[in-house]
Every structure is written in C-alpha cells, then in structure tokens.
Assembly symmetry: C2
Homo-oligomer: 564 residues x 2
C-alpha cells in the first residue's frame, strides 16, 4: 500500500497507526484550543488527531502539551562552530525540527563545495535542514573572499530537495540600484523565495527593496523598523543570536494580531549560548516571560514560519502534515520532554543511526606569515574613523577620534579604549592587510584573533600589542583556523576550526568547553564584552552599518565605500 | 528596461510612476495601521506605498480608505448564469479582483471544452480568474452526466497559467475509502493545491480526508463544524451563496485570532442576488454589521485568501504585489468608489477593451420528449422517503412520509406540501427519468423546471400537475436549457441558458430582470421559497447530505446509495 492510502487508512482507524502519542493535549495554533485525544503518526506524517487510535507503538504523553516542532527561519549553521550533524544533535532535542540555513560562511571560503556539503548533510539529519542558496558571495566588492558565486553557479545547485530559494539578499544597494548581477540572481529565483537582509532601510528605499520581491527579513533592530517592514508586506523574523539580540526590542510588536506574520530566528548562535540559554526554546521562554501571549509566540515559532517560507507541509499538529512535534509539561517554560522529528523520536538511538558526510574545506587558511609591523596604522590626518561597538548588536557606530601618529603609526591607546583592529586576507589570493581602530572592546593587553570573520572569513585580529597580534594571526594558520587568545607571547587559549576555518570536527560539548576557556582568557586581557569573538566576527561585515573593516580597508557602509 | 528594474526604479522614485493614487489611506491588514501617503503603481504591480510619488497619471482618492482587492476563494461562475465576461463586468466593479472558480458545471455537460473555455476567457478579463480543475465529473457514480473526467484528462489541461490546483474534492467517500480513481487525481496534484468539500465530516473521517492533503473547505454550515475543520488544519471558507448561506452561522468564529486562517466565498450566487445585495462586498458589510472586527473581515477577504491558495503575489497593498486595490469612503459600508485590477482602472473603457472568446456548449439539451405519465411515482410501500428542504441551505433532511399509491401512483399532496420532483437525463445518454417527493417548496399549482441541476445538470422538475411538468421539461429542450415556470398549460416565464444549458448569452442586467419575472411567476404557483430555482438546483446534488434525487433515483447521501 502506498503512503497516501496508508496514511488515510490509519487516519480513519481502518488500520493500526504506526505511532500514537496518548494522553496529551494539542495546542491548536489556529483557534488557541487545547485538543484532547491521541495523535496518530504514519511514517513521517501525522495521520490523525483528537480521536482514539491504536498504535504499533504508543508513547504516553500524559500531562504534556504538544506543539508543532519549531522552525528556525534564518541561521548559519557554521555559527554554531560545529558540523550540521553536531548542530542537529545539539538543537533538535530542544524542539527545533526545521532549520532554514544559509551556508554562506562556508561558501565564502570554498564556494559551491560548501553549499553541497550542507545539501548532502541535510539528507541524513533528524531535523529537516533546508538549505537556501547564498545570494551574495562575496557579500560586497569591498572584500576578498575565497570564492565568488554568480547566478550561473547558483543554477548548478538549485534543484536539491532541501532548497527553499535564495538566501538573505545582503547586497541591498545592489538591489535598489539595479546592479545587473543582483538582478540576474533575482530573476533566477523569480516566483520562488528570496530572503531579505536590509538593515535600517526605510521609506522609498525599502519600497524598492520589497518591490524586487523580497518578503522575509531579519535585520530589524527596533520595533519601528520592524513595523514599517511589516506594513510593506515583509514577514519579520525576530532574531536572537549570540551577538545580535533583537528580541527585547521587537517583542512589543509580537501580538496575536501580528503573530501570523512574524517568525523567530537565531541567525548566529554558538554552542556556549545554546548550552547556557537555549536556542529557539530560549526565545520562546523569553518572549512569554516578556508578556507576549503564548499562542502568538508558538505561532511565530512554527505555523507562521512555515507560511512565510512556503513550507506547506508543516506548522501545525494536523492530519497530513509532517510529524514534527514537541511535548512539554509547561508551555511557558518550553522545555521539551519529547521531540518527534519527521515521525522519528529524537533520541540517542536515532541520532546514532544517522548517515554521515565527510567534511570539506580542510587546509583553507593560506595567509602570509605576519610580522608585528604589519599592524601599523599609518596616515597624516589626526581625524581617524573608529568603529564604535554596540554590545549585543552587529550594527556599529561610525565614530571619529583625533589620533596623532607617532613615528608614522597611530598607536592603540588603552586610556581611550582605542584598540587596533586588523584584517588579514587568508584565502591565498593577495595577502592584503588592513588596519584601523575599534572602541568598545576594552582590551588592555595582548590580542585575540579569529578566522570567523563575516562574511569573507579572513583573519580578524584585535590587540594592544603588535607582537601578540602577529603571534595570534600566525597561530591561526597553524591550526587551520579558529579562535586564539594571546598575551605576552603566549597562547592562552584556542579553538581549532579546521573545516574551512569555521567549524570544528569535535562534539559540540567540547567546543562549548573551549569557548568557556576562550572567554575567560579574553577577559584576562581586559575586555568587557560578553562575547568578544562573536562581536569581532561582525566587525568585518560590510553589509551591516555603519563602519566596518575588511582586508581592503575601513568601510563606510552607509556610503558603501572604502574610506581608507 | 525590464519590468523588475522599472518597478524598483519607480519604487525608489528614480523614475516617475505610471499611476499614483494620492490622498487616501491604506488599511494595512498585518498591523491594522492606516498608512498615509501615495500608492505608486508600475504595470500590474504596486511599486511603493506610504511615500510621496510622482505619476504619469494621478488619481485623487482623498478621503478614501484603500484595501486590497477581494478574493472569492470558491465559486462556480456558471451559477451567475452569465458568461465569465459578464461575470467580470458584474462583480469586478464591486472590488472582486480575483475569483477562484471551478468550472465543474459546464465540465459536467461538455467536459474539457468547458474547462478550456474558462481558461481562455481568463486571459481577457479585468479580474484575475483562476481556474481550478474539476475533480469530480461526474460528482458520483449515482448520476448520468454529459462527460466524465479522469486523472488522465485533467493532465491535458493542468498547465494553463490560470491553474491553481484541483477543485473541490466532492467525492469525499472516494477519498476516505481510497477509491483508486480518487487517489490517482490526488497524486496528480500532489504538492499542489487540492480544494475540499466535505460537509458534516468529522472525527476520524475528517482526519482521513485532511490527511489526504486537502486543506481548504467551504461546506461547514455550523460554527462547531467549522471549528473542528480549523483545528485540523483546514482553512475554512465562509460561504454566502444565493442558496447556501452560512455567514450568520460562521460569523461568530471569525475573529482577529482566526482571521488569518479563514476566507470568504460565494460558491453559487446569481445576478439577482448580486444586484440586490452584492457579492463579496455584501459579505464584508454583513460580517462587519454582525460585529466582526473590520480588520478580521478584510483579511479574510484578501490576505488570508491569498495565503490559503498560495497566491503569493497579492493580498496586501504592498510593494511588488499585484495592484489590486479597492478605494471606498467607508470601511464598514464597503462600497467601492474605485477599483484597480492588475494595475488597470476598472471602468467601462477597460471593460470594453477586453478581448472575447466564443462560448461553447450550444444545443446541449438532448432529452427525450416527455409525457405527463412519465412523472408517475410507483411503489407498494407507503413508507416513502421525502426530501426535506432547509431554506437557505443545500443540505436537506431525509424525511419519511406515509403516502398511499392511487392507481399505482403516489400523487403529490398540496395539503401536506408533498410535491412531485423528477430528474430527466438530458445529455442524450439514456433518457432516465426518476421521480420522488420533496417537502418545503409550498408549490400548489403548475410546475417549474430547470437545466441548472447540480452537478450533472439534467432537467429537474417540481410540480403539482403532470401536464405542466411535461410542458416545462419539453420547453427546456426547445430553448436549449434554462429556467421555466408553467401553469395550466402555459409558460408564465422563462430564461433561456443556451451555453451548456447553464449560461445566458445576454448581459447580466437582462438575466437579472428575467429572474425577477421568474421569481414572481413561481410565487403565483404558491412557493414560499425565496429562491425556488436555486433551491431546486441543489436537490439533485448527491454529494451534499442528506437525501437527494438524480436521474437514477433517490439518493441517501449519508449511505452514498441509491434507495429507489
């Protein structure tokens, strides 16, 4: 008997269901009703609800409330610093049964091979990993990436079943100014889904961006900005990453009225954060604690997400839909006792039975050997642009300080919290090194460096001491990329990320422990930032206002120009 | 410059918009906000909102509120008794800019040619007529239709741009009992949209129907039934036709909470009703008058409808979406002052400029010549099933009366309101004639007859006098089908419907006038029904409970069996 007939037969009770969840109540996200009765599952689908069913396997969920599996509507798995397999093991047990990822971090390092890795991995996970195609590799023409992906390249990888359209279109100037390469990509995905990214765009510029057919967006950082995006027909994704935390600002906009049109996403969230706070489950808890009605929150976490991205086969616990179910004792607390993903109980056995795909991107760090003097920052004018960090945001301030050169070098100044920042090209292309200043790190000694450096993933280094900075950068070449903290000529802590300089080969628990060590080591350098490596990673991203730095220099994002 | 670039340029104000609506306020159906500012239109799309724009053409809409064009989510254009062109001229000026039709009336008479007629007509209308493919021709195996459409036939017409999937799957027993022909049709449209029709289905039977992948439904007649369908993941379409009127019963379920998941439809609405009360505009007025919040009502009328049927290009007044806009002075009253459909102002000039398609289905009435005695109703048992009319509903009651035969014929009995009903096969296939009783018509004299007789569209006749019944039936053959009222051997009124016996060649105003005459004539026969012809038309539809009659006999719909 085929799936269709079997599902109908099990739904009707004409044959025994394969799996029955008994004794719980289903939260219906449409009416808000709590529905008594069994949930019958047939293969990867729900067959029936709110009725009595017999099952080959019966799981007692007495006292539990059942909600649809959560959908992370935008994230980069690479930011979890582990493989998709470890990511799956880390977050699926928390109830995240669908994740819409954009593999653009790895794509910026190794191109289509990186996208294919995620596509292949998606075939073996418990969660349904949907792989959007990276729209902007490189993110702009103001940086050196390891790869370049044009419309023709995307066409080669666009028919994988995990596909869900074009990933965040970060080159928003390219859209609103009708750049031919941007237009070609939009045309390739015309009629399909094109995800957005347009921080602080408003008025007619926002109209122009939306008019291009881009209808989902996760970069709103204020309720006002999010409201305008909603009004213009965008589905707004509330993001709570490890760096960019917009939940508090946007929570007031999430209500029963708006919930059908809002979603949740994590964008970039590391295993330390996931371990300490949670993933989407954390967002759900926080939003409910902030006073948002649970119905609105759970809608945003599943049903509205499915709608926004055209995933017609999920988002409710209803007949015929994917059996993605989270059982929990308390809706407000959102701690999963049982997770069913595509009809499979998420447990160690199911995780252990998954297939595997070998990771690509080894040996990707090809930076020149760096000398301390490479970090000098020359210039005659005392007026100096300084990146102003806003903790917990990936947008920055464009500050200006008077910094007098000493021996032709504008030196770091701990007294004014003016820290040297540098970006070193590491894809073996040109060996570019750009230097500048950042304020807000609070660094007083040593250096920290990283190959996680959005989106080109060159080596980003901040430091007070050029020798330590050189040691840090050179150490990254030795360990195939990762994070490193250096002081007084000594490596205090490090985390190798040998998959494209972005992801570890180790279990997520080990990565989490290393991050604890790194954070502690960074604190000994004086930094006051909660997540110095994550904050650093976004200082090189020239599609987020206001002032950034790439291997080609300081970038005024609002003018979309390199300013030196 | 291509459409995409031109739209972006006009949205940004880099070039003049083609059309600007100035001075109105846009009701944003997401936030409920009223947005000031111009609406800029480029081609068939909205370019920008809530900003200042220059336009080649500017229309002053000062004092008006603008809402998205209405979407009728389920209707049979044939029930308007006019061609799609006249239907367009009749309802588009009322704000209906999208209609999702199922041409299954004409398909039951002339097969795929009828579907193709609607597909071709859709290319020339001001409204966007979306043509679903009729799933059940004939609706059951208990009737003789003029055509039969199987999955292979559907495959021939499924790639027209007006397509939106498979139309109302009325053969719900076929679905839940896994009839192979039903399964083949579901498979053909797997992944696409399959519209539903499952009156009074509930519990595990409803689970089974929904598990088949059917997610929109318009047959709920009570709030309880509709609520269960919502809970099980169906989008519920509130229907207010000329016969089946569910608005009052379902209005209590339509709230801000449920509105994203509910839609409006008319199913079957004739030009008399449209003229006297309105179309979707009438439903909107009524719902608001009933106390449903305007935001919820306008959502159901556009945004939620677009969502439910995957029409991603409409449903809001927002950049990039279809320029389907209704301007009105008063949201509660919903009387359109200006309608824009696909960027075109709906006026006489635009209506006059449309292309045309010749109507098919002439000479389709091929009934035998009927004699009065053909209407005798034989049988020994006095226990007689009687169709009990529920005014304003297409469901009926299954009544039983004791009726003694006289000379081997159970005679009509005006004293007990037991009226003869008969169905005469008219497709030239077998000349079947079935007879029975109906209660609730209140007919005391004469006969009325019609070739609009769902879904097989044979000749349905009700009457107290066999001579008049024969005259009425035979007259329909002469006028190529339609409606006729006969008393004492004389035709009192008639409306020819020469397109497949279903649609007039005349303007809708003329049809409306004829319906007034027909209604008045029917009243002289004693009927107390507001719409006797419409009520009659559904007495032969064996997919709506409880007791119906086809050319093959009386049908117990709940048992899906011919009972004599």
């Amino acid at each position: 008997m085929d799936d269709l007939e079997r599902r109908i037969a099990q739904a009707r009770g004409d044959m025994q269901a394969e799996l029955v969840l008994r004794g719980g109540r289903v939260l219906d996200l449409v009416t808000g009703d709590l529905l008594e009765g069994d949930v019958a599952i047939c293969g990867d689908r729900i067959a029936g609800i709110a009725a009595d069913y017999n099952g080959a396997q019966v799981i007692d969920v007495s006292g539990m409330v059942l909600v649809p599996g959560f959908i992370d509507t935008h994230l980069h798995v690479e930011s979890s610093l582990v493989t998709p397999f470890e990511f799956d093991r880390c977050v699926t047990p928390r109830g995240v049964t669908t994740a819409i990822c954009d593999p653009h971090e790895i794509a910026n390092v190794i191109g289509l091979d990186g996208i294919r890795y995620f596509q292949q991995a998606s075939e073996h996970l418990l969660m349904d990993l949907r792989v959007q195609l990276s729209s902007c590799v490189p993110s702009t023409e103001m940086e050196t990436a390891g790869a370049r992906i044009e419309a023709d390249d995307l066409a080669q990888v666009m028919n994988h079943p995990s596909g869900i359209g074009l990933a965040e279109f970060m080159n928003y100037p390219g859209v609103i100014h009708r750049d031919p390469a941007a237009m070609a990509k939009l045309r390739l995905f015309a009629g399909g889904h094109v995800d957005g990214h347009c921080p602080q765009l408003r008025g007619r510029d926002l109209n122009a961006y939306v008019a291009a057919g881009i209808r989902t967006e996760h970069e709103a950082t204020t309720a006002k900005e999010a409201r305008e995006k909603l009004q213009k027909g965008m589905r707004v994704l509330i993001r709570e990453g490890s760096v960019s935390k917009d939940l508090e600002a946007l929570a007031p906009l999430l209500s029963e009225r708006t919930s059908p049109y809002m979603c949740l996403c994590t964008d970039d969230r590391n295993p330390l954060d996931i371990d300490e706070h949670g993933h989407l489950d954390y967002m759900i808890r926080r939003l409910i604690a902030r006073g948002v009605p649970p119905l609105a929150v759970y809608r945003a976490a599943s049903l509205s997400a499915a709608e926004a991205f055209g995933l017609k086969d999920r988002g409710l616990i209803a007949p015929g839909l994917r059996a993605d179910i989270v059982a929990m004792p308390d809706l407000d607390d959102c701690r999963a006792s049982l997770v069913i993903a595509g009809g499979r109980v998420v447990d160690d056995a199911a995780l252990g039975a998954r297939g595997h795909v070998a990771a690509p991107g080894r040996g990707s760090v090809k930076a020149p050997v760096i000398a301390p003097n490479d970090f000098r920052c020359s210039g005659n004018a005392e007026e100096t642009p300084v990146i102003g960090i806003l903790e917990g945001k990936i947008i920055t301030e464009h500050l200006t300080h008077r910094i007098a050169p000493v021996d032709g070098d504008k030196r770091p100044d701990a007294g004014r919290d003016l820290v040297r920042i540098a970006v070193v090209e590491r894809h073996g292309r040109n060996g570019n090194i750009a230097t500048g200043f950042v304020q807000g790190f609070g660094l007083r000694h040593g250096a920290i460096a990283s190959t996680v450096c959005h989106d080109h993933h060159n080596i980003a280094v901040v430091g007070m001491d050029y020798d330590d900075m050189a040691l840090a950068a050179n150490r990254l070449s030795e360990i195939e990329g990762g994070f490193v903290v250096v002081r007084d000529g000594r490596v205090l802590a490090e985390l190798p990320l040998p998959i494209a300089g972005l992801m570890s080969l180790d279990p997520f628990e080990d990565v989490r422990d290393r991050l604890v060590d790194l954070r502690a080591a960074a604190r000994t350098l004086g930094t006051t930032l909660e997540e110095p490596f994550l904050q650093l990673a976004f200082l090189a991203l020239p599609v987020i206002p206001a002032l950034k730095i790439t291997d080609r220099g300081m970038v005024d994002v609002n003018r979309f120009e390199i300013i030196g």
